[in-house]
Amino acid sequence: MDPLPLRARLFVVAVAVLAAPLPVIAFVEGRGQFDVVDFVALGLLIVFTDSIGARGSRDMVKIALSSVVASACLPLVGGWGSIVLASATAVAYDRQPAVKRVFNTAQMILAATAGAASFTLLGGAAIGPESFPYLIVPFMAALAMHCLVNGMLVAGIVHLHQGVPMRVVFQGTMAGSLSGYFGYGLFGLLLAVMWDADGAGVGPASALLLLVPLFVARWAYAQYAEEQQAYDRTVRALMTAVETKDLYTRGHSERVSAGSVLIARAIGMREDRVCSLRYAGMLHDVGKLGVPTRVLQKSGRLTEGEFAAIQRHPMQGHEIVREIEFLDEAMAGIMHHHERIDGMGYPMGLAGEDIPEFARVIAVADAFDSMTTTRSYRGARTIEEAIVELRRCAGTQFDPAFVEAMIEAVETQGWSPEVTPLFESPVDEALDEPAHRFDHDDPTHADSVARGGAL
């Protein structure tokens, strides 16, 4: 962790000073109101869930584990008791730096106090025969307050530490943890019902039972995250393998993917569509594998038949990825990425708005990357030259809106054309073929393809 700026340190001190007396007051006030065995068992449980929680990512189930126990304290040991128990966070085993530990404990105490206050004010009490359904109301209110105070304090420290606007952090935390708090927080109520002697009377052993579904949920979230990452890496590695066919397109797929995302963000595309577009960009040239190597690597003029073979690659790409269900919209992007706004492109000769949005985005990113990387027959053009060329072709070949979005994004965020490839090609001898002179992605060449003539 970077050294905290002074303001952030002061904030931590203020929060700690505010929180420190609370458990003491609560202990004095609440003494004798709660069962000692329950109290100790809950304390141990808080330490345990906090310790395992800290190792995982900040997924919602992590938040859930400790908040389930924390919220179960309310009906079990009352408001005062739960404030005292919140301080157990301090001894959680999680190798945090001292500042962080102090802050976390302090904010847990404050959040617990807010939760306990709203629980008590709304008439929340221990579980009895007449508790339900009314007890659900103060319980939910306590969850909400707990969540709110926690979110605000976290937003405060992140803002002071990293300069991120408070509102952004707050919204981020809330979006990520609301369902965790309310959904899994309800397990806290169930834990209390199971545990309480006036409830099902299972006692501390009920924690074992309740943690099973929680752990399984946690496992599923972890698996999902892991698999998602594995998937990404697999697609990247396989596309790199596809690119080993041609030394000069190495890293192309990944850069087109990145470029497409730049455009999508600039025009404010919805996040799930951006994700789909990212894969579309990655896979847009997968159909080139269907073009005979002989044609791809030919150094002389191409015959009409050979042109036709090259023009088939978007269709073949579509053919390959057709079975990947979630790529839905991405498929259209792959199939039509060589269409032109003026209708002179291939494979269908669509024009203007008839061309799927993904395809229009990819076309721009594709051409831009093709121009700014080294090809056998020419060196890389500068970004400025490429921008001029893109502007020249806007309206005929490209959608002008996306051209401007790309240019704006490149000018503000920069562009690094030579992305390090994921790995070095294992066989270079296969690539020592004469370099080709025809580049189907280059707009200057694309023009000649559109006109249907040989080079």
């Binding site: 169930l190 099973v212 090609s425």
Partner: protein, 428 residues
């Protein structure tokens, strides 16, 4: 799901028939008994649980690995089977009422799926009904009921968990029996796979069932909505996990065809090799996780050919020189290893060209089973291709047998010929 599953679904096997028939019989008897005068008690509680079960059936999911499941419905049905008390009263519905309520609720919940053309398999529904019936009969219908009725608190929870565990085992055994019959796999291996599934989501379903039953004794009907929220969240996580697994597999399948479009291999080769390899792997009792690696490796076993300047004629690696075969395997493994997450798969692909008996490398560990399977299946498909001629099939198997004990693992060739036999019979 309309997608062809790389799994041999043979609806005619005895196991499936027995399970479905017993399920239907149980449902029929239960409904008849419950519908008779005085057979239906505590209507409100029954309706509440029926709603819960129906909802669970409505939001059914496909688990990672392709198993059909309706966790919330199962948990609800188990809870109803284990329910002894309600605030202020004892609950004394009989075991057959549990079965009737469950079956009616399941049918209601499944109806929209049937209308939408996504009917779940009759076998999985029957199996779940049988498991619930088992729990209900054991818990409510036997002498045990009296003993259990006197329990409270932790002791009751413990007994409930034991019942739930027993139910899960019954469910796993039924599932394994059906599958073993269908795939020709050894029962023990399939049972192990099924039990592994139960350890994960099964234990969550089971404990949740017990928890609902206990909580409902205090909270009454309110236990159901309070439980359903976290359960839906968890199920959502499983759904996302299953989806990404499915997407991964679809992507690898799609990309495995890249070598075909590039003219490196014959059309459909990777797909056929993966289907056949899976059949052999299943017959040899491989675990679910190993089968998944095997499928990936089989799909990508020729990816190394992409690095070749000149395609091998017909893409048949079996006719290439052993040195070349190994080089291609190594190149493919290199590509797969770059993903950083498929190391197992890379190793399998790497060693696919190694002969079964490697006299020159006595000190090296054995070639993995998956590699041996891919080696034999790949050779078989190179020789037979899309042909369905019996003569060609037998000729190819004969050629593999000649290479047995040196090139090919005899047990693998054995299973392969059985699998080929079964598939050709299914196709006929």
């Amino acid at each position: 799901m309309s997608r062809p599953r790389a799994r041999f679904e043979d609806p005619g096997t005895t196991g499936t028939v027995v399970v479905v028939a017993s399920g239907c019989l149980l449902a029929l008897v239960a409904v008849m008994v419950t519908a008779s005068p005085g057979g239906f008690v505590d209507v409100q509680i029954a309706v509440a649980f029926a709603a819960f079960i129906a909802l669970g059936e409505l939001v059914r999911i496909t688990l990672p690995g392709g198993r059909d499941a309706a966790p919330i419905s199962t948990a609800g049905a188990l809870a109803y089977a284990l329910l002894l008390r309600w605030p202020g009263e004892d609950v004394d519905h009989g075991a057959l009422q549990v079965v009737s309520v469950t079956v009616v609720a399941m049918l209601v919940g499944v109806a929209p799926h049937v209308v939408g053309g996504r009917a779940p398999s009759l076998e999985s529904m029957s199996r779940r009904l049988l498991a619930v019936g088992f729990a209900a009969l054991l818990f409510r219908g036997t002498e045990l009921a009296e003993f259990v009725g006197g329990l409270r608190g932790a002791a009751l929870a413990l007994v409930m968990v034991c019942f739930v565990l027993a139910t899960l085992v019954v469910d796993a055994v039924l599932a394994a029996a059906v599958q073993a019959g269908a795939a020709g796999a050894p029962f023990r291996a399939v049972l192990r796979n099924e039990l592994q599934v139960q350890v994960g989501i099964g234990s969550a379903i089971g404990t949740t069932g017990a928890l609902i039953a206990l909580a409902a004794s205090i909270m009454g009907v309110w236990a159901l909505p309070v439980f359903v929220v976290p359960l839906l969240l968890t199920q959502f996580a499983f759904r996302r996990y299953a989806t990404i697994r499915q997407t991964s597999l679809q992507t690898i399948r799609a990309l495995s065809r890249v070598t075909e479009l590039g003219g490196y291999t014959e059309a459909g080769h990777s797909r056929r090799v993966s289907v056949l390899a899976l059949a052999v792997g299943r017959e040899l009792g491989m675990s679910d996780a190993d089968l998944r690696d095997l499928e990936y490796a089989a799909l990508m076993h020729d990816i190394g050919q992409l690095s070749l300047a000149e395609p091998i004629p017909g893409g048949a690696t079996v006719v290439a020189a052993p040195g070349d075969q190994r080089r291609i395997a190594g190149l493919g493994a290199e590509v797969i290893r770059q993903t950083g997450v498929l190391d197992q798969v890379a190793t399998i692909v790497d060693l696919q060209a190694e002969p079964y008996r490697r006299a020159h490398q006595i000190d090296r560990a054995e070639v993995p089973l998956a590699s041996r399977i891919i080696k034999a299946v790949n050779a078989y498909d190179d020789l037979v291709g899309e042909s369905t001629e019996t003569g060609r099939r037998l000729e190819a198997l004969e050629r593999l047998r000649l290479g047995m004990a040196y090139e090919y693992d005899p047990t693998v060739v054995d299973s392969l010929s059985k699998a080929v036999d079964r598939i050709s019979r299914l196709g006929a």
